[in-house]
């Protein structure tokens, strides 16, 4: 767990800086530069420091309705229109890679996803160093290094791209890369904590953060195992296929917090025919939304007022704590939370030559993976936000004391300072918005031959939402007969 150590700015007013210990001297600088800092927070906090998400609305609507070519056009236009800054490039690469994949443009998808993976590797350590060094900076000002679940599915979607092009070798490489990342995940955050602590020693801010990442409990992806099991089987490596089948089962047994449902029936070989394997990407993964918290103390009323805006309820709620307070403080902070995007899809069925073959079963809940892997970094994000809010709140308080000249003018000045503090604080809501929410699979034995296949999506009421048709698909014995369907509804 992470802890926040309070600063020593309480000693500052009126104390000459040269007589202060180093940490307090840093606070003194912060104090004296208060107006300048406040102005810079105002300048950088309102525009470029807030995550731009509005432009995604029509794109996501198109994605949900299956207009993937339009999604590609929308994303490329957004890039051209500079909706993405260079610091946001990873989000663009992931979403564009996914959009091109859904549109069946596998080469371009791989190029974008490859860039996403490179950017993530390049930026992760840098982002941790910067997070330690600059408390003043809103997280939105830093390069976005991606969440682990985004990078994991980058590899798995790339693997699907290579499989669509019948390139097993490269599909295998992507599975290995995904598995490797999961193996190194715990180490990655242990290293990140070291980098953070080392860089934090150079920190000049008033508040020290002790970042200790929460242990990552996700280390084995059932979807990655399912893909590699089939690939091994198709290349005649049955013992490796068996091993992956066992590892898939182990993913369910050892990670019930991710796989809180029964594992699907899986099969990669049959004496009586070929195995048709179907993967369906359904719904959309969670996205980040801001939870805004405001804490105000009122010395006249002896009250601590807590306000928060819940991303799901959308309301501002109030809580009051009667407490003897000696100063009027105002702290505002916004933190990102992962919020589910409900899917309409309740059932997915497979048909061959118009006849019902079977139903797909859930293999991986991307939302559960997202929530679990986000935990490791969440404490750092939250504590940085809190530390920044405290530092800004203290500076704002000092400015308000100066501005408190009485009368309407003084009141207006104080209100303006509160507004500045409010608008300059924005949660970093950057995340991929086109990741699928759930992955369903099914392995069905069919006599070798040519089939007109279809995958149909249904809602809870049994109403057909859409489907995909694969005419003249050749099911062969001993090969990985894979079809993929997508519905992001």
């Amino acid at each position: 767990m992470a802890t926040l150590l309070p600063g020593r700015c309480g000693h500052l007013p009126g104390t000459p800086s040269e007589h202060l210990p180093v940490t307090s001297r840093a606070c003194w600088v912060l104090w004296r530069l208060g107006p300048l800092l406040l102005l810079s927070w105002l300048l950088v906090g309102c525009g470029s420091m807030a995550t731009r998400v509005g432009f995604y609305e029509p794109i996501v609507t198109q994605a949900r309705s299956g207009g993937y070519d339009s999604v590609v056009v929308g994303l490329e236009k957004a890039r051209k229109d500079k909706q993405y800054g260079e610091k946001d490039r990873l989000v663009y690469f992931v979403d564009a890679g996914l959009a091109y994949h859904y549109a069946g443009r596998f080469d371009t998808s791989n190029a974008r996803l490859h860039a996403a993976e490179n950017a993530a590797e390049e930026l992760f350590t840098k982002s941790i160093s910067k997070a330690a060094l600059s408390l003043v900076l809103n997280d939105n000002a830093l390069d976005y290094a991606g969440e682990d679940y985004e990078i994991l599915y980058t590899n798995l979607i790339k693997s699907l791209n290579y499989l669509a092009e019948n390139d097993f070798d490269d599909a295998f490489v992507e599975i290995r890369r995904a598995n490797l990342k999961l193996e190194l995940l715990e180490q990655k955050y242990a290293d990140a904590a070291q980098v953070f602590q080392r860089e934090a020693e150079k920190d000049t801010s008033a508040v020290k953060i002790n970042y200790e990442p929460k242990a990552v409990r996700f280390h084995n992806s059932a979807f990655a195992r399912w893909l590699s099991m089939h690939m091994y089987a198709a290349t005649g490596k049955d013992s490796d296929a068996d091993l992956d089948r066992d590892l898939l089962r182990n993913a369910f047994e050892s990670q019930p917090f991710i796989y809180g449902f029964s594992p699907p029936e899986i099969s990669y070989e049959s004496d009586s025919g070929g195995v048709l394997s179907v993967v369906a990407l359904a719904g959309l993964a969670p996205v980040k939304q801001a939870l805004e918290l405001r804490i105000r103390t009122d010395k006249d009323l002896d009250l601590v007022q807590v306000m928060y805006t819940d991303p799901q309820l959308g309301d501002t709620e109030y809580g009051h704590i009667p407490l003897d307070v000696s100063e009027d403080y105002y702290f505002d902070f916004a933190i990102p939370q992962l919020i589910d995007r409900p899917s309409q899809i309740a059932r997915i069925e497979v048909y061959a030559n118009g006849e019902y073959v079977g139903q797909l079963a859930l293999l991986e809940d991307v939302g559960a993976v997202a929530r679990e892997t986000f935990e490791a970094k969440k404490s750092l994000i939250y504590l940085r936000s809190l530390a920044r809010a405290i530092a800004k709140g203290l500076v704002a308080h000092k400015q308000k004391e100066k501005a408190d000249t009485g009368g309407l003018g003084g009141w207006l000045k104080k209100a303006a300072i509160d507004v500045i503090t409010d608008v300059s604080e924005n949660a970093d809501l950057r995340c991929a918005r086109l990741l699928p929410g759930r992955i369903f699979v099914g392995d069905f034995v069919l006599a070798p031959g040519i089939y007109d296949l279809s995958v149909e999506f249904f809602d809870q009421a049994g109403q057909r939402l859409g489907g995909q048709v694969y005419s003249g698909y050749h099911v062969t014995n001993g090969e990985f007969n894979l079809i993929e369907a997508v519905s992001l509804q």
Partner: protein, 198 residues
């Protein structure tokens, strides 16, 4: 003062216009390690070292002594079992080049090349003149096949990755299935990430 201002403006313009992409031609034999990932230099050096090792081992002398001929070698499958996308065709080509250039073995084309050549020869039977037509069933049969795999192990510390590449090759007698040579070459590389283009 005015002249200085003009000079500064012109200099700024010149500097501003000269910021295009620069291309430098490099000697293909120079070692370039931009990212730390597997590259052409690794492929070439591993092929050179492993083939040199292979050709310095007793199996070659024994074969020469027993048959009085140079052994005929072909390259089979070299699997990429690493976590990197490796251009295996380039790697195989490096092995083939080293084997042929050694002049100590004779070399026949790999299976996927043979199919195309056989098709051409087959068509010659129908379309080429009798004088120029190449005979069927007159290929040089390989005595040995080289097979292998590249594997990788990744370690990570403080965000820096160290990758350990291991290439394993085996030379197998095609008739007896006897393994006559096993070679192994290890490379350890530190990986650093460059800037992603935007």
């Amino acid at each position: 003062m005015k002249g200085m201002f003009l000079t500064v403006v012109i200099a700024a313009l010149l500097l501003g216009c000269g910021g295009g992409k620069q291309i430098t031609r490099l000697d293909p034999n120079t070692q370039t390690d931009l990212s730390g990932k597997w590259n052409d230099t690794d492929s070439r050096l591993v092929a050179e070292e492993m083939i040199a090792d292979c050709l310095s081992r007793p199996w070659l002398i024994e074969f020469n002594r027993n048959t009085g001929n140079k052994p005929v070698v072909t390259v089979g499958t070299i699997d990429n079992l690493s976590h990197e996308h490796i251009a295996i065709e380039t790697f195989i080509a490096d092995f083939e080049r080293e084997l042929i250039n050694s002049a100590q073995v004779r070399f026949v084309a790999a299976a996927d090349w043979r199919a195309e050549i056989r098709k051409e020869r087959s068509e010659q039977q129908e379309f080429a003149s009798a004088e120029t037509m190449k005979r069927m069933r007159n290929e040089l049969g390989a005595d040995f096949m080289l097979q292998g795999a590249i594997k990788s192990i990744v370690d990570q510390e403080e965000g820096k990755q160290v990758v350990f590449y291991q290439t394993d090759l085996t030379l197998v007698n095609i008739e007896s299935m006897e393994k006559v040579w096993i070679g192994q070459k290890k490379i350890k590389k530190g990986i650093s990430q460059g800037s992603t283009k935007w």
